[in-house]
Structures are given as structure tokens and as C-alpha cells.
Symmetry: C3
């Protein structure tokens, strides 16, 4: 089902503009290079639109926000809309502060987003459903018993925004307004690696840059990340842990093929 998307990224080497937090920017750059894309990190309003204009997609990540970085997000988001680039939004920590939640609302109003990816708590928070948890990690994990309700939330939010919605955690859901997929890959250690979500959103930037179908691009990115997490965990030595696994996960993306994805991915249409 993946249409050689990773090979297409390696062939066309799309430039991906990332406006992202400083905690995981290095990992995002390396995972983009690992999949064959060419990252440009630039978060200054003075150059933001110009950088977007030479790229094939834009990834907006809400971690470590500052007024300047948020301004650059709006400027670049509008430029991307103007020239027809996919825009990925990762609402890191939405719900954890009014500052982040308010900005997410503003961005949703002013910029047309192609894909929104977050954990359940973050997606609930920006979809206007009350979230009783906060935080940047794996709060409110999608569980077997909640898959149906989560998919319904994602479909509804997609209908409101026009964006593909990816709710990721132990189990992942990707949906547009009419269909939803569940991806059952990944490994628990991924919950102990900072930036797994950020890296996945960056991958979505690369995949969406070479695809017409945002639902497919988002689903493929989720599957790619999860399969690479599994591969990384398999190769861990007895004295290795989350840091070693982070490195191997990026390495696995470097070696990933559509064939591997087709074999390993466990995806159900809901």
C-alpha cells in the first residue's frame, strides 16, 4: 500500500522546512536526512517565508515556543498555503499551557493544515474536547477499548479542519473525515525516547512532499517510524537503553525500504 514512498523521497530529495523546538531539532534533521530528504531549520520571522518558498513542505512543531518562533510559524504557514505546500502541525504540549493552546487555535484559524499529529491528550486539547491531562509525553494512550472513540474524534476533527489527523501512542490512528486506519506497530521503549513524536512529524513532512494523498503519506510515516522503532529495539544490546535505541531508530530509517514496510506493517482499516 505504500507506493514506494520512501524510494520516491530518496529520489527527489525534497527540502523540508522545519520550525521546531531546540530539544529535538537535531534528531529531526537526522531522521529527515535518513529518509533521503533535505532539512532546513529556520525559525526567524525575518527569513521564514523566504525559506518556506524554496521548500516542498513545512513542519510546524510547538515545542519550546517563543513569540518569535510562533510568529514565524504563522508567516510560513501562510506562505505554504499560498504556494500550495503541505503543512504538518505537531501541537507539542497543547493543553499544558494557555500560551500553547491559544496559539494552536490561532494557527488552526489562519493556516490550512494538511496533517495534524499529536498524542491523544494534545489532539483532544486542540479539538476542543476537555483534556484532563497535560504534558508532552504519552498521556491518555489510545487503548484497545478506546480505538473506536478515538477514531471518531479524529474523523470529526478532520471534518472540521480538512486536515488528516494522526493520534499516536501505543496504538496509532490516522484518519480523514471518511476513513480511519489503525497501525499496530512500534515498541514500548519509544515512549522513553524524547522526540519520537517530533521525528514522526518530520517524516510526515518528507512523505507529504512527494505524495498527493495526505492520508497515505501520514499513514506511511507512522508505519515507517513504528517499524523502525521495532527494528531498533530488536538490535539493542543487553546494556543499551533509550539513547542507543534513538540512534538505531534513525539508522533504521536510513536503511528502510518500502519492501520492509510492506512486510512489517500491521495496519487495519477501521
Amino acid at each position: 500500500m505504500f507506493d514506494n514512498i520512501i524510494e520516491e523521497v530518496r529520489r527527489s530529495k525534497p527540502r523540508v522546512h522545519c520550525i521546531t523546538n531546540y530539544v529535538t531539532a537535531n534528531d529531526c534533521a537526522n531522521i529527515l536526512l535518513a529518509c533521503g530528504a533535505s532539512p532546513i531549520m529556520a525559525d526567524c520571522p525575518d527569513e521564514s517565508a523566504e525559506i518556506t518558498a524554496i521548500c516542498k513542505s513545512l513542519v510546524i512543531n510547538l515545542g519550546t515556543p517563543s513569540p518569535q518562533r510562533l510568529e514565524a510559524m504563522l508567516i510560513s504557514g501562510k506562505k505554504a498555503n499560498e504556494i500550495g505546500l503541505p503543512v504538518i502541525f505537531d501541537p507539542v504540549g497543547a493543553g499544558a499551557s494557555r500560551f500553547r493552546t491559544d496559539f494552536a487555535e490561532k494557527l488552526l484559524k489562519e493556516v490550512k493544515l494538511s496533517i495534524i499529529r499529536g498524542n491523544l491528550s494534545e489532539i483532544r486539547s486542540i479539538a476542543g474536547t476537555t483534556s484532563h491531562s497535560h504534558g508532552v509525553d504519552t498521556a491518555d494512550i489510545v487503548s484497545d477499548s478506546s480505538i473506536v472513540s478515538c477514531a471518531a474524534l479524529a474523523e470529526k476533527f478532520s471534518a472540521q479542519t480538512g486536515a488528516v489527523i494522526a493520534v499516536t501512542g501505543e496504538t496509532d490512528i490516522v484518519a480523514d473525515s471518511s476513513s480511519a486506519y489503525c497501525i499496530r506497530n512500534g515498541h514500548p521503549i519509544m515512549g522513553s525516547i524524547t522526540g519520537c513524536g517530533c521525528m514522526l512529524s518530520a517524516l510526515m513532512g518528507a512523505f507529504s512532499a512527494v505524495s498527493e494523498d495526505m492520508l497515505k503519506a501520514a499513514t506511511a510515516a507512522v508505519a515507517a517510524m513504528d517499524v523502525c522503532g521495532e527494528t531498533a529495539a530488536e538490535h539493542l544490546l543487553p546494556y543499551e537503553g533509550n539513547a542507543g535505541c534513538r540512534s538505531r531508530m534513525i539508522d533504521s530509517v536510513y536503511r528502510l525500504s518500502t519492501e520492509k514496510m510492506d512486510t512489517a506493517a500491521r495496519i487495519e482499516k477501521l
Copy 2:
């Protein structure tokens, strides 16, 4: 002596708010995840207090300072005091510039700190003792011959501030106003890994979040970091160096148990 502190962190998964430099923020996030805590990096005055309010401890790190980040430190420090959270202060590079030293003084006046951790040069600089060296690395290392005088400095500075003082380097000293410990663990390669000190301060954030006794929490964090540095160095392959060791050190924290700490730690009461 460690009261199952690492297991307690893994059980309760405390959120730790880090206002920290961008050089080592990723390592700090990963070491917090490795020990079982949940990091939130946020350094913007617009959201800083709100983020602190949903956390169990606050880590303030003076690396790569900017006026905005320093403002967030004061705001969050006061909020943490208000709601009774432990505050860890890492005066990175204090003494290297007036800007850093002045801020450290201001913070000491306006915020009640629980633990202050730095190398000897940094601690001397903010304790008002003239430092003849500057810099962010291992200047003025605690040596066998200076242990007694360093412990005296730490005890005196603790009496002035009410904070536990950790002076770390080749040999480490942790003291409050009435007692001092010396920790003789660690490995020389740790001096070639950027962010060892920052990561240790982050660990103190996790340990202090689950402990009533700041002297124990700080001592346990120093021992944990040093023991993990030793474990990492033992596993280094012949062609590996400081970068590989950094990764393995975090991995060792991921696999650390109190049992391991009890066996490996070499701690003396002075």
C-alpha cells in the same frame, strides 16, 4: 542508603520542568526519561509559571542564557517556591561573564533553592569567593588535598542559602550546613562529554521530586550519574570515545537499579 529512589521515580513518573540551555537539552530530556521521569522543556516567560504548576520539580540551568530565558527562570522559581516544589540550580558558566554571575546573585536573592550543583569554579563564583578561573568545564577540580576545604565551602554556602550544595568534578562533594559526603565514583572520560553536569542536575530534578530529603536526593543523583559513567566506560569498544560513551551513560541510567547503586557507590561521610 538510597531508599529505592530510582524505583520510586520509575513508579511515580514525576514531571520535571527544565529551563535549560539548547546545547544539552536533548540529553537532559533523554536522561530524565531514562530514569523514569517525564521532562517538560519550556523557557518562555509567557507560559513558564503555568508549566511549573503542573510539574513536581524545577531545574534551572544557566547555559546559553538570554534575557527571556532568565526571566522565565525567575517566574518559574517563584511559582515553584509558592507551591512547594524543589528547585535545582545549575549555574553553568557562572564567573565566566558578569551577565551570568549577576543573574545567579539575583536568583539566589529572589528564589529559595533546594539544590545548587556546579563545578568548583562555578560554586566559588556564586558563593562570593574569588574564582581565578572561568569557563564551563572542569576548572579547579576538587582534589584529595582540597576535599576538606571544599566541603567547608559547601557547608558554609549551604548555611547561607538553605540549599544543599553539590560540588562535582573528579571527586564530588555534597553537603548541607551540617554534614558532607564525598562520592568517589565516575570516570575521566566524563570530562570530555558535554552536558554531564547538566544531565546530573536534571537527574537531581527527578530524584528530588520523589524525596523529602534533599541531601539524600542530591547524593543519590551524583552516585547514579557516576556509577552510570563507570558502566558506560566499561562497555566502550576500542574505537569508541566520548560520543559513544554519552549514549551508553544514558542507557546505563535506563537500566539502573538501587541494588546496582548500593553495590557500586563509594561514598564517605566527611
Copy 3:
């Protein structure tokens, strides 16, 4: 030909002030520690000159620019000129935005630079030759057929600026106004590691701090980085990729000797 430069760095442990982007700051700090230098990252105008004043060289890196960081670059650049420190300039992404290109021009006017290192596209852009490509990666690679014209560009730009010019990519050229060297080391995977260029510029900071001859220092740094890239690629396991290689490359610098450089480097005088 390398005059024991790496051993001299290890002996004198020069402090290197880096004003650099947040994407690769950690890697730059670790590679400086790996070669024996002592990094200080500081990008705030409020302390920038003071930090420069306690260092032995200054590295200015144009990635993720902000008005504050650029201001710090000018302040520190002038301070370095005043006290006679080498200044390395890495014009990351010059040509990709007016903001970066304009700043590069301003810096060239106001600060005397010792070494300028970039890829061909970046060097062309700030040398005033029209660049038809943009971006922060390996655009316009120096090829066998273009070595002579690239060396001519570098020599001319060196004559204009007084700086040694390093044009790096698959093949590397280092030149002053009267002589040029070509370095034929390195490995293709280095093009998939974010910050290879930044790390090389940081190494130049360390090497220039212990050398009177900027052409030798720059050439030695290029050779060191490339040889370490080769060593790292040799040790890659079948399931490793760009992230593992990044770590091993820094590790190789940690273990590098002049003897190794003399044996492995393939340098031609043009």
C-alpha cells in the same frame, strides 16, 4: 605536514567560543571536547564580548539565525579582532534567504575573518557570484571537472577578504590568495549527517587556536574530519546508518592522532 596539531590541542586545551545554531550545538561541543578543546557556547549580546575575551578562538555559525544571535556575532567578532583571536565563519544557508546573505555581507565588512568554510553554494553566494541553488546541504558539489575553477574562486575570495577559504563537499578545497590544496578524503554517508559542516568549522576553531598558519590549520581540520568520517564508516555495523555514524565520527576524533592523519590524508597541492 600536520605539525602535531591535534596533540597541541590536547596539550593546551584552548577554549573555543561558539556562536552557533541550536540544531548542531551539541555535536559541535562534543567534537571540540573530542579533539581536546574546551567549548563555550554563548550567543547573547549581553555577555558575548566577555566570553570571547576568555577564549582562544571564535566560531561564528549562521544556522538558525535570530537578530540577537547575529548581534552577538558582530560584537564578538569585533572583540576577537581587537584581541587578535582567529575568527572562523560558517555561512550556513547563505543564499537561502536575504536575511542570511545580508548578514554575511555585513560581517565580512565589519569583522576580519581568519577562515571561511562553506559548501560551494554558500561560498559562491557570499563571494558575490550568482548561485543558482540554495539550501544548507550539499548543493553544487565540487567535482573533478570543477576543481580548478573552484580553487580559483577560493583564491580570489581569499585575496578579497584576507581569510583562508575552505569549500567543502565530496572533494574539499582549502586556499589562501596564493596557494590551494585539494583534500580527497571523506565518505558519502557524511552527506547524510546533519552538522558535518558545523562540526568541521568547530574543529577549525580548535586547530586555529594553536596555530600561527591559518591555511595549515584549516587544511588539517578538513583532513581530520574526513579521515574520521572514513574511520566511522568503516566501523558501521550492517544495521547502522547516519546517526550511528555521527556518533562514531566524533569518537574517531576522540582517538585521532597526527600519525593517523599523516597516514590517511590524501592531500594535493594544486
